[in-house]
Symmetry: C2
Amino acid sequence: MTGKLFVIGTGPGNPDQMTPEALGAVAASTEFFGYFPYIDRLNLRPDQIKVASDNREELNRAQTALIRAAAGVNVCVVSGGDPGVFAMAAAVCEAIDAGPDDWKSVDLVIVPGVTAMLAVAARIGAPLGHDFCAISLSDNLKPWEIIEKRLRLVSEAGLVIALYNPISKARPWQLGKAFEILRETLPATTPVIFGRAAGRPDERMLVMALGEAAAERADMATCVVIGSPETRIIERPGLPELVYTPRFLKDASR
Amino acid sequence: MTGKLFVIGTGPGNPDQMTPEALGAVAASTEFFGYFPYIDRLNLRPDQIKVASDNREELNRAQTALIRAAAGVNVCVVSGGDPGVFAMAAAVCEAIDAGPDDWKSVDLVIVPGVTAMLAVAARIGAPLGHDFCAISLSDNLKPWEIIEKRLRLVSEAGLVIALYNPISKARPWQLGKAFEILRETLPATTPVIFGRAAGRPDERMLVMALGEAAAERADMATCVVIGSPETRIIERPGLPELVYTPRFLKDASR
């Protein structure tokens, strides 16, 4: 009999945004595999073993976890946010797909969580209140031309756009280029939200118009949400502004 | 001083998928506004008052909650899933935007949750492992032509597509038409997931190829996820199949 292989999301980092289901998976596991900042969010017992790894080693990490689960150990693969959104659930599936047959029998339990764009949206209003998309801006795993094509099509479609992995030291220019492309289709007044570390002590929310949006305002902990032409801003005296996208859309010309 | 106005998501319905933050908001509130099946998910104290309403009365419900919060009561507006995804957070923002000035001073706290597509994805593998979008198929709030246009553009973009509100008694043909449109762009073998009531006792997960996908397999509790051309199925002996979208994409022609 195999062990269980849990794949969990910690949520965006506020412990109150981690579900009881994910906490239950943590309690039931003895070995933990993940990028170290995510593993460090967990309060583990002395008998629970951390196997931290770097954030470029997803497939390797998934394979190691599968070997241990197939050997009968209850293991937990840890993602931030939701494990199914640009995270470890796909890496574990890839490893099973390409791996030895006995990995297909591993008792796999994927536990959903609150993904970054939902936490950012909640802090600023309801920018994802209508049709939206989530696109990873990392060209490590797909060609940049595909990212450009997707940005053009989804902005033409009028979707709100959540950009994951917007910027890093190794990818400094992609976000600025994305803003350039979106300016070709979207009004310069379209609200852009730089949602950093939503729900954590170092949270920072910033709203700029697309015409002025500067890539330097984002870092690796930022989820960038670009509104649709319908997205609106509510100014509130003495309180942060609210950004939301109405549920209705009347203009059939779009 | 106003009361607090919490806008929470219960998650998809499994109590273990509701966050401690949402439970804290429930404990801090005395009046509850929402569609009755969502309010009924909460274990309320005798002093807590339920004001249930029908699921077509979002704006009215938001206004009533704002009146009560402005009067000093701590109120809780309850959505299923995440309140920011096709749910009450946008309705509350709309009401504030169009309402009297004092509603802008209400202490608004939006609490994110696990939205249906994440729960469905977790139960079936990792279909949202790469770029994806969420589109409401309801033409009550936007013209059908816009929905068609969006479906064409996002399938051309190669995004995985999560359809919310796929079907209802009043909207019987829209999902079938959506499948027709997607068949024009996507391979007939593209996996389609009918994810019903994920995480609840009446859960039902069904995977069909787009070529055979039949709208009758969905109901109001279903989130329909249509893969991209890269989405893959892993057959597992004695276990349900896994559906996932790889994190990488090598084919620059798409």
